[in-house]
Amino acid sequence: MINRHKDLDAVIKIFLKNRNSDEENLNFRDIDELNELIEFIGLAESMHLELLMAEPNEDQIDSFNEAYTLSIDNLSSFFTMGKTANLLKESKDSKGLSVKISEFQKQILEAIASNLSISRTKLLQELVSTYLDSAYYTYLIGKHHKSQNYIDINALIRELREDAIILKSPFHVIRALFRMRDLDPMFNEEFNKEFNSIKSMENEND
């Protein structure tokens, strides 16, 4: 907790820094600006000052801005609650599976889940769905990696196209190329080709 009188200057400085503003540009006659500052002081009181003083990273600034832009009557904490509810909602269209994991990893998983305030199963579900495709794409890159500077991209794309038919997923190829495009300029080139071909097909259908 902070001492309001003692640290008020510091809090105002942080507030100005977060708004990319300075004292000269502030106009407290504007009631919205004053409300914003009062709300910020409230926030500062519920947090450690060091936390506020830490340089906010881009993700934090984005979520801070998003919550403010998309809330009605500046009720940003309710927006955040809604976002969290959405993140934690269980899908009805899911299937159960059981896997064996080592006791060591299980305990680490348990500790991490508890720190994230989610269940161990939710953590595992999100971890797998987040990295499932990347894992497979990486496998394909390894499979078609012929030498230090050469990946047989044509063979890789051919395999992705075969997969797409089996998976009945028309965007399987472009999704994979999108993820691979930063690895090698050739992937980027193939991604652009695929993108343009999908676009021209869409135009034809229109």
Binding site: S63, K100, Q107, S129, Y136
Partner: protein
Amino acid sequence: MTNFFKELGKAHAKEFESTEEKSSPLSFQLEQEDFKKLEFYCEKLDINKTKFINMIIKEKLIFALAEYLDSSGKNLADLDTSNLNLHQKAYLNGKLSLASLELKESKEH
């Protein structure tokens, strides 16, 4: 020209670095779409789901934690590790430092 045996050795060194440990089952849910893909990917890689998921846990669990810490503005000191033993804490600390570096590098690129 690559040396087949050298490359195979390198691949196996990475593949078999895990040691046999006591394990227990853990059940969880996956969305139908992801489940279908997991089955397909495992078939292609010729491994079972347990192996696939364990590989993801091993490579990405701590990285996911690093991402969470980064976006929440928290750090290692904010974590409650009271339920972990010394060995597990050391593992978490070491892996988390590496994951944070990896995350920092990926953001710079």
